[in-house]
């Protein structure tokens, strides 16, 4: 129970950093942290006490495994996070090239 709460605290730190910080790169970092928190939450849900990793082995025929389904989902979610980060960095590099600053408030002022 407390682990889920810690996970939510991490997510809210990411959300807070996103809402308050004006620097584009800080927003990307905030989103990255929120992304990590959501992935962690899924795997925390799938963990089973003293069970093994979901890899079958030729020699030990044990069936006591952790839940493999959230792991398959989170593999997709990690790569989604990478894709979105790449697009965001591309946009912020182009914005820096045009406005010479990463600060949202100045961008809005320059935009007029």
């Amino acid at each position: 129970m407390s682990l889920y709460a810690l996970c939510f605290i991490l997510f809210s730190i990411g959300l807070y950093c996103l809402l308050v910080k004006r620097n584009l790169v800080k927003k990307i970092i905030g989103l990255g942290i929120a992304e990590y928190a959501v992935n962690l939450f899924f795997i925390l849900l799938g963990f089973k006490e003293n069970a093994e990793a979901p890899i079958l082995d030729k020699y030990t025929a044990s069936q006591n495994f952790v839940d493999p389904l959230p792991q398959a989902l989170i593999l997709t979610s990690i790569v989604i996070g990478l894709g979105v980060t790449a697009v965001m960095v591309a946009i912020s590099v182009r914005i820096y090239e045009k406005y010479r600053t990463f600060d949202i408030r100045e961008i809005r002022r320059l935009k007029g």
């Binding site: 997510f11 959300l15 996103l18 584009l24 927003k27 989103l31 929120a34 992304e35 959501v38 939450f41 899924f42 849900l45 839940d67 389904l69 959230p70 989902l73 997709t76 979610s77 989604i80 894709g83 979105v84 697009v87 965001m88 946009i91 912020s92 182009r94 914005i95 045009k98 406005y99 961008i107 809005r108 320059l110 935009k111």
Partner: protein
């Protein structure tokens, strides 16, 4: 046949970069060909689904095991909206794209957007819905920033940040539901949620879903990104964005999750209605003071989405039918209005209503189609907008929500006023300095606009049979709620 909805646009998207190296012009025809094939598929799918749902299990695994694709009446209506508007907007952009460099990238992103939207409409699995939602979102971020001007990049960044926060909230909600019921198939989840009463986690997941999808549909508390995203995006993209993406990604997914998986309760429907009313009123009030053509249309999109959400939130058969019918009509006339604004910008180079004027003499077809669209959005009797608003207002009166009905009527009047303003300033006034030597827009843009205008009239005039054939069964699916699981797993 169902996987073709996703396979065709994906195949087109993968082949276009390869073909454009071989022959430059081939990208246009591959994209239009795939969009046309999708249109024929979605029209023919009207006759596939009689009662219940067509289930297709991907990879041969039975539903609770693998992922299944579900085609029922609600999906058919949404697919029709996506592919109809998608094809016409693509037709429009064949000429519009000449203003931009690297057209093959545009066509790849556009067919990826179509693949994402079709995959989202067809999927019967919660995480799969999230993955295709992500595809549609990323391709729309890139399409908004397609002109690489400073203003577009800033609008696209804001949309990307808010859209991504919405996706994370939706993923959290899926996580909470998965933690509670440990299965992802929507039908299986609905069945296992029936046994668990609406306790804290499911209520919490519903709240997260409403916030996440609310952010995606730009309902009022979360509409910050829409008025910036629309003026910046290229015209065909903003037509697609407000005509289809907001509706399919937000409203359809919200109805599917809230009605069919979690099951509607008075609390949730009242929350939806309140959100609908607020966004109706606020959208129109914000729109009055606007002079930028596209920004004005963006605010009107918010208020029209408020209509749809209010209609569906009512929960009565008439209300839901009115909401879905308005969803179809709104995608018709709103994308036509955006295409008109694109044509005006293409010809005169500006979107500011104060500088425009007297275009009806120099651009007869554009002003005629925009007149039809403005009348139908304002709800003038013979055209389609009137019938759907009438249904919603009648349903609101029947359900006893007179306050909501009054707000609907007031909003319709204010919309009529603000669109008359648009007509007067842009088309009917004496020509200003800028608009003398203005020629009509090229052929493809014209025929796309004319087709959309004809559809607006047809939906208005032939409204009774259309209502019975498509909208009523779709509303039936929504109202059945949990029995959706019976069709999918039973079938």
């Amino acid at each position: 046949m169902i996987p073709l909805f996703v396979a065709i646009p994906l195949g087109a998207a993968f082949i276009i970069p390869l073909m454009s190296k071989v022959r430059e012009g081939s990208a246009r025809w591959i994209a239009t060909g795939s969009a046309l094939a999708l249109l024929c598929l979605s029209v023919s799918s009207l006759w596939w689904v009689q009662k219940g749902a067509l289930v297709y299990s991907v990879g041969g695994w039975k539903p609770p095991f693998g992922i299944c694709m579900v085609l029922d009446n609600l999906t058919v209506l949404v697919l029709l909206v996506i592919n109809l508007i998608g094809f016409l907007v693509l037709l429009y952009s064949l000429d519009y794209i000449k203003k931009y460099t690297a057209p093959s990238l545009y066509y790849t992103l556009f067919s990826l957007l179509l693949a994402g939207l079709n995959g989202l409409a067809v999927s019967g699995d919660l995480f799969n819905l999230f993955v295709f939602l992500e595809i549609a979102s990323i391709s729309s971020y890139a399409l908004i920033a397609f002109g690489t001007e400073a203003e577009e990049l800033e609008a696209s960044f804001k949309y990307l940040v808010l859209g991504n926060v919405a996706d994370l909230l939706i993923l959290f909600a899926i996580g909470v539901l998965f933690g509670r019921a440990s299965t992802l198939n929507m039908a299986d989840l609905a069945r296992s949620l029936q046994s668990i009463s609406l306790t804290d986690p499911v209520l919490y997941a519903t709240a997260l879903f409403i916030v996440g999808f609310g952010l995606k549909t730009a309902l009022v508390p979360f509409h910050a990104w829409l008025p910036d995203a629309h003026p910046a995006a290229p015209a065909p993209m903003s037509a697609m964005l407000s005509g289809v993406v907001i509706k399919v990604v937000g409203v359809y997914a919200l109805t599917r999750v809230v009605f069919n998986v979690i099951g509607i309760t008075p609390l949730i429907s009242s929350v939806l209605m309140v959100l609908g009313i607020i966004s109706m009123a606020a959208g129109v009030l914000l729109a009055i003071g606007q002079w930028d053509f596209k920004r004005l249309l963006a605010y009107h999109s918010i208020s029209q989405i408020g209509y749809v959400v209010f209609g569906i939130g009512l929960g009565t058969p008439l209300g839901v039918a009115g909401g879905l019918f308005h969803l179809f009509n709104h995608s018709l006339f709103k994308s036509l209005l955006f295409l008109n604004s694109g044509a005006v910008e293409h010809a005169t180079g500006t979107r500011d209503l104060r500088k425009l004027g007297g275009l009806c003499r120099t651009m007869p077809v554009t002003s005629a189609t925009s007149l039809i669209a403005s009348l139908s959005i304002a709800g003038v009797p013979p055209l389609c907008g009137f019938w759907s608003k009438l249904l919603i207002i009648m349903a609101a009166f029947q359900a006893g929500h007179t306050a909501g009905a009054v707000v609907c009527i007031l909003t319709a009047l204010v919309t009529l006023a603000s669109f008359l303003k648009v007509q007067k300033f842009a088309f009917l006034r004496a020509a200003e300095g800028l608009c003398e030597g203005v020629r009509e827009v090229p052929f493809f843009m014209l025929c796309a606009m004319v087709l959309l205008a004809l559809l607006c009239i047809a939906a208005g005039v032939f409204f009774p049979p259309f209502l019975e054939l498509v909208v009523k069964p779709a509303a039936q699916v929504v109202l059945e709620g949990r029995r959706y699981a019976g069709f999918v797993l039973g079938g």
